[in-house]
Symmetry: C2
Subunit: 570 residues, 2 copies
C-alpha cells in the first residue's frame, strides 16, 4: 500500500474516507495473514483511527495507544504504509508504537494500562512549556481494569491539565472482559446508566461523552469534533463502542482466537497445553489446587481447567498485581494456587512477589510462560529478565524445565512443595521424559573425563548444548553436560562434585543477575576458567527467536570456539 | 499493659469499652514515644478496632490491615499487650501485622493496597473449603488511590464471594489525600453524594453503608452489627470517618508530622534535606526540572520544592506505578523528572522502570531514599533489594553516593545526563565533599602498594571500609580502597588498572544481583581471590540498622579476619 499523507485524510470526502477504511482493513488483514500480529483489535479500530487522523493533527497533536494492539491503521496513516509488509519482522516495523520508529509514535507501549498516565505527562509538559497540542489516549476497555489506569484517573485533578481519553469499548480484552469496571461500561453502553456512572467520571475530573458507534465515521467525526471543543475546558472521556474483528466474519465471530495470530502454525508443541493437562490432573487429586490468570486463560492453556473447575479458576482481568496478592492470600488460607502468566507481564507483580508471596513464604507456584526471547512482538514482550528479577528474592525456588516432560514433572513435584516456586518456560518445545524430579536437584546429562563442563538450563540452551556436544564428539573431544534445572535452590551437592577446570554456562536470559552470576559465585576462588553465554545488557528488538538468540548472545559458533579453545588448553 | 482476653471485650459494658479505648490510647502513646512507630493513624482507629473485636470473633474471623499502620490496638487486644513494650525492637513485636507473630495476624502487610485482594483470597478459600468465618479488610482512604485496590474491587464480582471492607477515611494518607478518589469519598462523607457515588460501589458488587463516626463506639457497634448481617448476602463497604491522632492534641493538629515517629531525634543529617535543597537549586536554573512523588513529599525532603515550584511538583498519592509512567512521559515530552521514593516502595514500579523509562531510554532520575537496611519497620521496609532489581535493566545508570556531599554532586551531574539514572541512598549520613563528579566514574580513596583491594559503595560500606583501613594501618598493613560510586556503568577504565590479587567487596544490599556480582563478573578468570560481603539471601527483620547490618552480612570482625588472612597470604 502506498503512503498516505495527512493532507489526503483531511481533504477526503466521507465516501472517500469510508473507502480508505476498507483499504486499510484489507491491508491489515493481508499483512497479518503474512506476518502474524494482532488482527481483531486492529480491524475494529480502523474507522476510529481514520477519524482521529481527520480531526487531530498528528504528529503535532499526540496520540498514545494503550498496549498498542490497535496501532496498525495509525501506522498505515503515518508515512509507514510502504513499510507495512515488514511488520513484526527483524528490522521491520514494530507491531507496537515505538518512539524511534516515527515521530507519529510519541510514546511506546506494549504492556497494558500506561496510556492515560503517559498522556498526562505529555499534557503537563505542554502546559509548562506553552506548547500548542492536544493529547489523546486511546484505551481499550480491557485495560480499564488495570490498576495503573485508576492511578492515572486519580491524578487528573491533581495535575490540572487536559487530555482526551477515548475508551474503545469492544467488550473484550484478550479474553472476554470481566469484573466490576465492565459493569460500569456495560451500563453506560446499554443506556442503563442514568447519571450515576457518568457522575463517577465527573468526580475524577472528566467530562463524559458517549456512547458513539466507533465503526461509523458518520457518528465518530462529529463526536470527535465535539470532544475536541470540550477539551478546551478540561479533560474528556469519549466512550466509543467498536466491534472487534469487524469486516472479517471469521474474526468477528472468534475475536479471542484472532486476537493474536502467528504467521504460520507453530511447529512444536506448546508448554501451555501441558500446563492445562497437568493442572487439571493435579486438581482432580488435590482439592487445594486453584488457578489464577490475568486475562490470558486461553494462551496459557487453561481453558480446559476453567471449564472443568469453574469454582477453582480465576481470571481477574489485566490485573497482574491483584492476581499475585490473591494467590498469596489463597495460599495463606490453605489453598495451592498456580498463577500462570507471561514472563514480561509478571514484571507488573514484582513487588507482590517479594512482599506478599516470598516475604510470607507462601506456597504459590508461578507458571511463567513465554520466557526467553519470544520474537516478533519485540522489546516489550521478550521474557529475558525473569531469572534476574526473581533470583535474588529470598524463599523463592526457580525451576527451568529442559522440555515439556520435565515441565510436567516439575508441576507434579510442585504440589507438595511448601514454599514459593517459579517455573519459567518458553512457548513451545518438545515432549521428553516426565520421570519424577526433586525440587532443587540438577541432572548430569552427559559425563566426560575431559576438563570441560557445560552448565545450562531450559530447552533452548540444552538443545544448543546437545548440538555442541555432538559437534565436539565429532571433533574428537567431549564435555560434561549438566542440566541445572533449578537456579534456586542451587544443587550444591551435585555442583561440588564437578571439578572441571573449564566451565561454560548458557542461559536464555540477560547475563546480569541470572544463571551465570549464580554459577560464577558458586565457583568463586576455585581457579576455574568460566565463559558465560546469555543475552547482552540491552533490550532485544523484534525478530525470529532463534535469530535473535544467536545475535544477542547465544551464538553457537562463538560458544563452539570457546569450547575448542578450552579443549586446546585443557 | 496486661493482656486482654477476647471474652473481656465481648462482655464489657459500653462504658467499660470506652474506658478500654482510653487505656489503649495511653498505651499506644506511651509505647510510640519510647519505641517510635506510627502514632496518629493508630490513635485514630482505637474505637474502630475495639468495635471490630467486639462484633467479630478473631482469630476465627479474619482481619487484614491495609499497609498495617493501624494495627497497634489490634495487637493490644490479641494477647500481645504484655509484649507491646518490645514494639519495633529487634526480636520484639512487629509494627505491622505478621503471620508468624500471632494467629490473629492472618496476613502480613507493609506496602499499600493489598488488603482487599488478600481478603478476597481468604474469603474464596473459605467458600471452597466450607469454612465458617468472616473476612474484614480495613483500608485507609490513602490506599484507595492505589491501583491494586481497584484491581481487587474489579474482582469482587468475578470471585463471587463476600467480604467486609471497612474504609477508614481520615482524609489523610501520609500526606493529605489527593485526587479523584478523594472527591468520591469527600462527597460521600459530606452527604453530597446522592445515590450516584453509592451506585459506583454497587456496580462493583458492594453494598455501601456509611458514613459512621469511627471514633464513637455508640455509632460503630450497631453499624458493624448491621454490616455483619448484610455480609450474609454479599460484600459490604462500611465507610467510617475517623480523626487521625485523636486524643492527643499535638497529634490531632499535626497528623503528618506524627504519622511516623522515631524514638529519638536522628543524630545525623538526612539525605532528604539535601535532595530538597539541590532540586530547588536545579529547578531555578533549569525549567525542565520537575519532581514527582507518591504520597511522601515531606519524608523525601520535598516540601520546600513543592512550595517553591507548585506547578512543577506532583504528589500523585500512593500510586508508585503511575508516578513512574508520568515521569517517563514527562521526559518523553522534554522535561527532566526527578521521581523520589523509598527503595522498598519503588518495587511497585518495577515494570514501569523497565517498560516505560529504560525501554525508551528516557532521562528520568530515580531518587531512592531509605536504601540499605532501614531498621525498626522490618522486612517490608528494608531497602536491600534495589541494586538487584535495577542492575540488570538496560540503559539504567545506578549511582550510590558515599555521603551527602557526593549525593549533591550526583544530582548536579544528573541534570544533563540524557538517560535513565537511579541514585540510591540511606536515610541519614554525613555531609562531605560535593566536588563535581562524572556519571560512571569511580574514585580511589586510598592507594596502597599491598596486594589487597577493597571495593565498596554507599555511606555505610565506605564508613566500614575506612574503619577497616585505619585498623589495618594500626596493624601495619594497608589496602587500596575504591569508592565504586556507580554500579552502572562500571568504571571499566579504572577497574582495569587495579591488579591486586585479593579483592574484598562491601555492599548494603543482598549479595545476589548487586555490586559483588558485577565486580566478580568484571574480574572473572583473572585469578583474583575475592571475598564478597553483603546481605544473605533472606528477609531481614526489624532491629537497629547497625546491628542488623552486622548480623546479616556486614560484620566488621568477619571482614577484618578476611583482610588479615589476605594480608597473611599476600
Amino acid at each position: 500500500m502506498r503512503n498516505i499523507t495527512p493532507a489526503e485524510v483531511k481533504n477526503s470526502s466521507l465516501q472517500q474516507l469510508n473507502a480508505l477504511c476498507e483499504q486499510l482493513r484489507e491491508e491489515i488483514f493481508r499483512t497479518v495473514s503474512m506476518c502474524g500480529g494482532h488482527l481483531s483489535s486492529n480491524l475494529g479500530t480502523v474507522e476510529l483511527t481514520v477519524a482521529l487522523h481527520r480531526v487531530f493533527d498528528f504528529p503535532r497533536d499526540k496520540i498514545i495507544f494503550d498496549v498498542g494492539h490497535q496501532c496498525y491503521a495509525h501506522k498505515l496513516l503515518s508515512q509507514r504504509a510502504e513499510l507495512f509488509h515488514t511488520l513484526r519482522k527483524e528490522g521491520g516495523l514494530s507491531g507496537f508504537p515505538k518512539r524511534e520508529e516515527s515521530e507519529y509514535d510519541c510514546y511506546g507501549t506494549g504492556h497494558a494500562g500506561t496510556a492515560i498516565s503517559a498522556a498526562l505527562g505529555f499534557a503537563k509538559a505542554r502546559d509548562l512549556n506553552g506548547g500548542q497540542y492536544e493529547v489523546v489516549a486511546l484505551v481499550g476497555d480491557g485495560s480499564f481494569h488495570n490498576g495503573l489506569v485508576f492511578e492515572a484517573l486519580n491524578s487528573l485533578r491533581i495535575l490540572k491539565t487536559r487530555i482526551l481519553i477515548v475508551l474503545n469499548d469492544n467488550g473484550m480484552s484478550i479474553s472476554p472482559t470481566v469484573g466490576g469496571s465492565h459493569e460500569v461500561f456495560e451500563a453506560l453502553r446499554s443506556g442503563n446508566a442514568c447519571d450515576d456512572d457518568v457522575r463517577l467520571f465527573e468526580r475524577y475530573g472528566l467530562t463524559y461523552m458517549g456512547v458513539v458507534n466507533g465503526n461509523s465515521l458518520e457518528e465518530l467525526l462529529p463526536a470527535l469534533e465535539r470532544a475536541k471543543e470540550e477539551l478546551k475546558e478540561g479533560s474528556v472521556l469519549l466512550h466509543v463502542s467498536t466491534k472487534k474483528g469487524l469486516g472479517y466474519p471469521f474474526s468477528e465471530n472468534a475475536p479471542t482466537e484472532t486476537h493474536g495470530l502467528s504467521p504460520k502454525p507453530a511447529p512444536k508443541r506448546e508448554y501451555a497445553s501441558a500446563l492445562g493437562e497437568e493442572l487439571s490432573l493435579l486438581a482432580q487429586r488435590d482439592p487445594r489446587v486453584v488457578a489464577v490468570t490475568a486475562a490470558m486463560t486461553d494462551s496459557l492453556g487453561l481453558r480446559g481447567f476453567f471449564n472443568a473447575f469453574p469454582s477453582r479458576a480465576y481470571d481477574v482481568g489485566i490485573c497482574e498485581e491483584h492476581a499475585a496478592v490473591l494467590s498469596a492470600s489463597l495460599a495463606a488460607a490453605g489453598m495451592k494456587p498456580y498463577y500462570a502468566i507471561y514472563s514480561t507481564f509478571l514484571q507488573r507483580a514484582f513487588d507482590e512477589i517479594v512482599h506478599d508471596v516470598c516475604g510470607q513464604d507462601l506456597p504459590v507456584v508461578f507458571c511463567i510462560d513465554r520466557a526467553g526471547v519470544t520474537g516478533p512482538d519485540g522489546e516489550t514482550h521478550q521474557g529475558i529478565f525473569d531469572l534476574s528479577y526473581l533470583s535474588f528474592i529470598p524463599n523463592l525456588a526457580i525451576g527451568i524445565p529442559a522440555n515439556i516432560g520435565e515441565f510436567r514433572a516439575m508441576l507434579r513435584a510442585s504440589v507438595d512443595y511448601a514454599a514459593p516456586l517459579a517455573i519459567r518456560y518458553p512457548r513451545a518445545g518438545e515432549e521428553g521424559s516426565d520421570a519424577p524430579i526433586e525440587i532443587g536437584k540438577s541432572e548430569i546429562l552427559h559425563s566426560s573425563t575431559s576438563d570441560i563442563l557445560l552448565i545450562a538450563a531450559g530447552e533452548r540452551c540444552l538443545d544448543l548444548a546437545r548440538r555442541l556436544l555432538e559437534r565436539a564428539q565429532r571433533s574428537g573431544f567431549s564435555f560434561t553436560l549438566v542440566n541445572l534445572r533449578f537456579l534456586k535452590p542451587l544443587d550444591v551437592e551435585l555442583l561440588q562434585t564437578l571439578s572441571q577446570k573449564y566451565i561454560v554456562t548458557l542461559e536464555d536470559n540477560v547475563l546480569c543477575g541470572g544463571l551465570s552470576d549464580a554459577v560464577n559465585r558458586f565457583f568463586l576462588n576455585e581457579n576455574r576458567t568460566i565463559a558465560n553465554f546469555g543475552y547482552r545488557d540491552c533490550f532485544i528488538p523484534q525478530g525470529e527467536p532463534d535469530s535473535l538468540a544467536r545475535k544477542y548472545g547465544l551464538n553457537e559458533e562463538e560458544i563452539w570456539r570457546t569450547l575448542e579453545e578450552f579443549h586446546a588448553r585443557g
